[in-house]
Amino acid sequence: MAELTYASIDNTVIDTLAPPRRTYWATVALLFAGILLGATCWGYQIFRGIGVAGQNNPVHWGTYLINFVFWVGIAHSGTLISAILHLFRAGWRNPIARAAETMTVFAVCTAGLYPFIHLGRVWLVYYMLPIPNQRTLWPNFTSPLMFDVVAISTYLTVSSLFWYTGMLPDLATIRDRSEGLRKKIFSILSLGWTGEYELWRHYTRGYLFFAALATPLVISVHSVVSWDFALGIVPGWHTTIFAPYFVAGAIHSGLAMVLTLMIPLRKMFHYEAIITDRVLESVAKTIIFTGLIVGFAYGTEVFIAWYSRNPVEMESFYWRAFGDYSLEYWIMVSCNTIVPLLLLFKRVRTHIPTLFVISLFVNVGMWYERFVIIIGSVAHDFLPHAWGLYSPTLIEYGIMIGSFCLFFFLFVLFCKHLPSVSMTEMKETLHEGESHAG
């Protein structure tokens, strides 16, 4: 990072906002088409009924809930990186914090769509809002789904605000360097930031407190999501380990997604000087750690099922590993805990293409973890006569493609229109010296 100066940071980042090439707009159009595909599928589903998706009795929850949990999980590392690591003063998070936070906001948005897609009668979703009404309806606050509504909306609000607050000084920098319409827009967005000393003093304090406020949310949101399952009585769901297990899994997947996004971004935007190999290596090391926690959770679940001597629990976990969904189970185990162990080797974790591939593996593995939990548990629960299997339909794949397109659509738009690396925090790193840069 020796060559980095305040000016070079500004130049590198603001260069990314130069008018994009045709291929960029082609990508955006393609992603938008994907979103339309998903929307069409959803429209068809609303028209015909949930039956066009693959859910059945006993598997009433399918890819919609898998993707919901998957995206909420992805959303985790953003706040983790920007808030918790900020509090810990882990300087290596600075180059990737902005992208991670952005990822959080968009992932929560994508995740937030899924409960709507999942509903049988989405047009009545307002029944869940605690508004006094003549229907004498009131939501049931003992339902974990109500916890979800509260937790997810809080998380979306806080993470968006946090993201925006962190971006303020950078927006002002862009304002100062641009002209015309863009100057007007960024003038509004930067809320009159002048960079005075007092402003900075309040800002850094405020940001720190914001980070402290956001930190519990990292833990709470996914804990609450885990209670969607843990508060059910279904074997495979009903365990006390679920909250930490889900949080660890969420961070695991979030970090992997950060790598998946940052490695191409770094290449395209020539961020090599800012997002150094050491930054990526630090993320990789954390992935080893979260992977081990997740692996420990898998082991604990199986152990407790055996230790309980409850035939239902025992059968449920035996079937997970060796039954109809054993392939999915072993994809989950190997992608989430075994493959990340390769990162223990320095040559692996510093070889960027390998790192990228491993991050993809973890993403896939974490998707399958949700599959195994959500599908596998109810498919094989209390009454053997009611057992059944599930497989997604084309409509579900369409919606899944749509949701991935939505996420990348928003992210691609972000990359070219907002600073994808926090100039402010990079300068702080520069100021505070190498020791904080990991």
Binding site: Q55, N56, H60, N140
Partner: protein
């Protein structure tokens, strides 16, 4: 755009939007100026009638609301079924409201079917009859078995049109059984068997719980003998080559080689003759009988049949020690070459065991006994094929489907010169080849009398006025056949007949009879002494000549195909009722399809797995069917149920499943019994595979406390599991699935050590149900009744494969993993838990705990998160994946007291809350509490064996509360501490 243009556009847009979205109002609403006396809006009227879905003739009560019959229930006064119905009886309504029902006569022309008026059709029939002229047998009549008054009319018709004897064609007939009675006892009849009075019942294939003679009646009689009562229970042993539902209810089912029944019976006769000498057997029978069975031997018979010699010896000993043994012969599904001998031997064994035949009653024989023998039917077909018939009248039969010569008949009908009139309400397999299809009134729409047991007249009346223009069959006959008819219409004829034959001469008697549903009088006593007949010697000769089946059949590559009558479709007439297609087969749990059941050994030999489509190749035809694997069948056998595979019979039947009858040779026994076993020339994999539409996820229950069985005395000795997990002293063992106590959904079911939530205080009542697994035979009547009562959607084959069936009540069948022939049937509906897991997880309170303990599902609130269903351990909640369709006029059957659910909503069993509300209304009117037993949910009402009891658990005197004290009482998965309100009583197993 200027301001005015904007306002115009916006205004137009919003008006268009508002107008486009308004519901289209009904243009015309009429009220009845003069309503019939018994039609009160919102109140049901009941009309007694007779079920004609099979020849048994159960009594029904038709529940009519606002002019439409919406539900059938058994007539409690009727001596045959005593208030209950089977699944076919429940589904009889779907014939009346069938969307494929013909409402006008159809005449076949060169341009296809042409609709004509009833008058034209009658005139045409008259002209054709005249043209057929006076020659004997140029006009012929084939009809289903009809009641005595109609028989009288048809006899007159036969004289008038010289049709010869009307051929009463019933595909499931019992010629061998009749022949046995004729030859041995001189009674050419099908008697009543008093199963209820027996203490040992041995059946050699008679499927009396499914289709045999009078299944609803025999289900009741069987459980009177076989349900645990004061620590005693009769014994039922079944020997047959495949496990039918009846066999599945036996204490012991022995799998025997096909067609080896007679061999076994002969050996048993010999054994009883030798060992049981104290029996008062007439000497003139004993000696020839001993000679006839001289070459029989228990061990050899056991070897031939392929059962363990010790098991047979044990059974033989049982026969001797039993006080009131009863032997039943073969069923329609297992009639092989020695079918005559089997029935003969079964009767003789009965005679040897009990010379008085005190449990076989000829006083009211089955009307089915009047059915023509297959020989007579074949003769008619021969005449048809030979082109000797100019006018053929077919009334409610479907020979093209139910005879193995169906293709031949179809060809003869198509190509022959003769004119065929099919009195059928459907364009079925036969009607499609007829020249004129003439719809006539169905049993629920017409005046008629039917005696399922001869002499016991059960009346039919039009339960919903004249819904369609079609005349009664009798009206058509009276109008066309007689120049000077004895009566103006069939109703008058019927009254006249009843006056002459049944002493109904006054209006009072008539009205009483119509209200009661029939003339139920005690049967005239029959002399008990059994007179042996001249035919006996020929019978014994046949018996001694009965040869055991080729002993190597199992080793050969060929299999024997059995075509079993179906509890769901009977002979096939039920196949166009969507409820019957949708409710799965009790044993295979496969709906809609008709798979061929094979033993794993046979499957290995052919090299197929379950779901593979195989091609069955017999001498007469080829048929493709998917394989269903079962160990409960002889390895040398392939089994298909009959009833499906129609070439025409409406949307629910056409092309659904396969028809194995075509594979049969069409041979009959000497007595005219159609043989239902056929050797297959080959069976081979086709390489194709389909998904079976089965509703079960597992055949066994993985050692869980779901469908629990016990043995006599076991529970009485131990009582309820006493441990409550907090036993005094020393080591505190935790509660397990097995030791968790019975926790009633009442305040006393709560324990502060276990429950953190407060007790539900119930107001007035706490509804609950008892399910006695020892009484449940798994017949599925309850499930069908539930479909009928609660407007449950029909999803079809594809959706069942996807796992989307909507049944609120299902019968789970669990096989004992150690002995797969032992089956426990486990009816499962919403358990209305006190700590319901579904209630706490719904974000909008759609599942709601009522003040009477019901777990109500409030459809309007439901937004479809489906969390409730995920969290329900019983998986009894059903989601409306789509908007289900009721093709017109099936929607007329819908129960107006029950909401029709839309897509996106969860639903489930409500304990028939609409009936509870009605009872509340009555009780309030009379200022009293609801009586115990006053409320009967549809399932409880129809159960032929009384396995279900509903009532108030809060009332200490109620029947359900009393039954909770039974040491057999337990809760399925009770250890979850959700306090289900459905209490199960364990099935009682007996080792024999």
């Amino acid at each position: 755009m200027d301001r005015r243009a904007f306002l115009k556009t916006a205004g137009m847009g919003s008006i268009a939007f508002a107008a486009g979205c308004s519901a289209k109002p009904e243009k015309t609403l009429y009220s009845l100026v003069k309503a019939p006396d018994d039609m009160v809006t919102g109140k049901e009227a009941w009309y007694a009638g007779t079920c004609r879905e099979c020849p048994a003739g159960c009594g029904v009560l038709a529940k009519q609301r606002e002019g439409r019959v919406i539900k059938l229930e058994g007539n409690p006064l009727h001596p045959v079924n005593r208030g209950t119905l089977c699944m076919r009886g429940q589904a009889a309504l779907q014939a009346v409201y069938n969307p494929d029902r013909l409402l006008r006569p159809q005449l076949k022309t060169d341009e296809g079917w042409k609709e004509i008026s009833f008058t034209e059709a009658e005139q045409l029939l008259g002209r054709k009859a005249a043209a057929a002229g006076k020659g004997n047998g140029r006009t012929r009549l084939m009809s289903e078995v009809v009641g005595a008054p109609m028989q009288a009319l048809l006899t007159d018709l036969a004289y008038e049109w010289r049709t010869g004897d009307p051929v009463y064609f019933e595909p499931l007939s019992h010629e061998s059984l009749r022949a046995a009675h004729r030859n041995v006892l001189g009674e050419d009849a099908l008697p009543t068997y008093h199963l209820d009075q027996a203490d040992l019942l041995v059946s050699f294939g008679a499927d009396f719980l499914e289709t045999w003679l009078s299944p609803v009646e025999y289900a009741r009689r069987f459980k009177e003998m076989h349900a645990i009562d004061a620590g005693h229970k009769g014994i039922f042993v079944h020997l047959s080559p495949y496990q039918s539902l009846t066999a599945a209810n036996a204490d012991r089912w022995h799998c025997i080689r096909p067609d080896s029944e007679a061999t076994l019976l002969k050996a048993l006769i010999k054994y009883v003759l030798e060992k049981g000498d104290d029996r008062m057997l007439p000497g003139k029978l004993r000696k020839p009988l001993a000679e006839a069975v001289a070459d029989a031997d228990l061990d050899r018979a056991a070897a031939v049949a392929g059962i363990h010699p010790a098991a047979l010896a044990h059974l033989a000993d049982r026969l001797l020690t039993a006080e009131r043994p009863l032997i039943l012969g073969g069923g329609c599904g297992t009639a092989g070459a020695s079918s005559d001998a089997t029935e003969m031997a079964a009767l003789l064994l009965n005679l040897v065991l009990d010379p008085q035949l005190s449990r076989i009653d000829f006083s009211r024989p089955q009307n089915l006994g009047k059915a023509a023998s297959r020989t007579a039917v074949n003769a008619l077909v021969d005449d048809l094929v030979a082109g000797q018939i100019q006018l053929l009248l077919i009334h409610n039969c479907n020979p093209v489907h139910t005879l193995s010569r169906g293709a031949e008949i179809a060809r003869a009908l198509d190509e022959g010169e003769g004119f065929t009139v099919c009195f059928s309400n459907f364009m079925d397999d036969t009607a499609a080849h007829a020249d004129l299809v003439f719809p006539v009134q169905m049993a629920l729409e017409t005046w008629d009398a039917y005696d399922g047991k001869i002499g016991e007249l059960s009346l039919s009346q039009p339960a919903m006025g004249k819904r369609h223009a079609m005349p009664a069959f009798g009206d058509v006959i009276l109008k066309t056949a007689f120049r000077d008819p004895a009566a103006g219409d069939y109703q008058a004829w019927l009254l006249d007949w009843l006056g002459k034959q049944a002493g109904v001469n006054e209006m009072g008697t008539w009205i009483d009879a119509v209200q009661a549903g029939g003339l139920f009088r005690d049967a005239p006593p029959k002399p008990k002494s059994v007179s042996l007949q001249r035919g006996l010697s020929t019978a014994l000769e046949a018996l001694s000549e009965a040869k055991p089946p080729a002993a190597t059949a199992a080793d050969a590559d060929t299999l024997t195909l059995a075509t079993a009558p179906s509890i769901r479709f009977f002979d096939g007439r039920g196949a166009n009722r969507s409820w019957l297609c949708e409710v799965p087969d009790p044993l295979t749990k496969v709906a809609w399809q008709s798979p061929v059941t094979l033993h794993p050994e046979a499957m290995n030999r052919i090299g197929v797995a379950q779901g593979d489509v195989v091609r069955l190749h017999s001498e007469t035809a080829d048929l493709e069917a998917p394989v269903y694997a079962s160990e409960a069948i002889h390895p040398a056998m392939a089994l298909m149920t009959m009833g499906q595979g129609h070439s025409a019979y409406g949307r629910y039947a056409e092309g659904v499943g396969g028809n194995p009858i075509a594979l049969l040779t069409g041979d009959t026994s000497a007595s005219g019994q159609p043989l239902t076993l056929a050797p297959l020339k080959a069976i081979a994999a086709t390489g194709r595979r389909i998904k079976l539409a089965h509703t079960d996820g597992s055949r066994t229950q993985y050692g869980r406390k779901i469908a629990v069985s016990t043995t006599i005395g076991e529970d009485a000795a131990h009582g309820h599991a006493k441990g409550d997990g907090h036993a005094a002293g020393g080591h505190e063992a935790g509660l397990t699935m097995e030791t968790f106590p019975l926790t009633l959904p009442l305040p006393e079911g709560y324990d502060r050590k276990r429950d953190i939530y407060p007790v539900h205080e119930h107001e007035g009542y706490r509804w609950g149900m008892i399910v006695d697994l020892d009484r449940c035979i798994g017949c599925g009547a309850c499930a069908t009744a539930c479909y009928a009562e609660n407007n449950i959607g029909i999803v079809g084959e594809e959706r069942i494969i996807e796992g989307r069936e909507m049944a609120w009540l299902r019968i789970e069948r669990y096989l004992d993993p150690h002995d797969p022939s032992r089956i426990t049937f486990f009816p499962l509906m919403c358990q209305h838990c006190d700590n319901a897991p579904c209630e706490s997880v719904c974000p909008v309170y759609a599942p709601h705990h009522s003040k009477e303990g019901l777990n109500n599902q409030i459809y309007n609130r439901c937004i479809g998160t489906r969390f409730c269903a995920q969290n329900c351990p019983y998986k009894v909640r059903r989601f409306n994946w789509f908007e289900w369709q009721w093709p017109t006029p099936l929607e007329e059957q819908l129960n107006p007291n029950v909401t029709v659910r839309t897509k996106g909503v969860m639903e489930k069993c409500s304990f028939c809350i609409q009936r509870i509300k009605v009872a509340h209304g009555h009780a309030k009117d009379e200022d009293r509490r609801i009586h115990d037993g006053e409320i009967q949910p549809a399932c409880v009402q129809t159960c032929p064996t009384g396995a279900l009891v509903f009532g108030d658990l809060k009332d200490r005197q109620s029947r359900v509360r009393q039954m909770v004290k039974d040491p057999r009482a337990y809760q399925a998965m009770g250890y979850l501490n959700i306090k289900p309100a459905v209490i199960y009583l364990k099935k009682v197993l007996q080792e024999i």
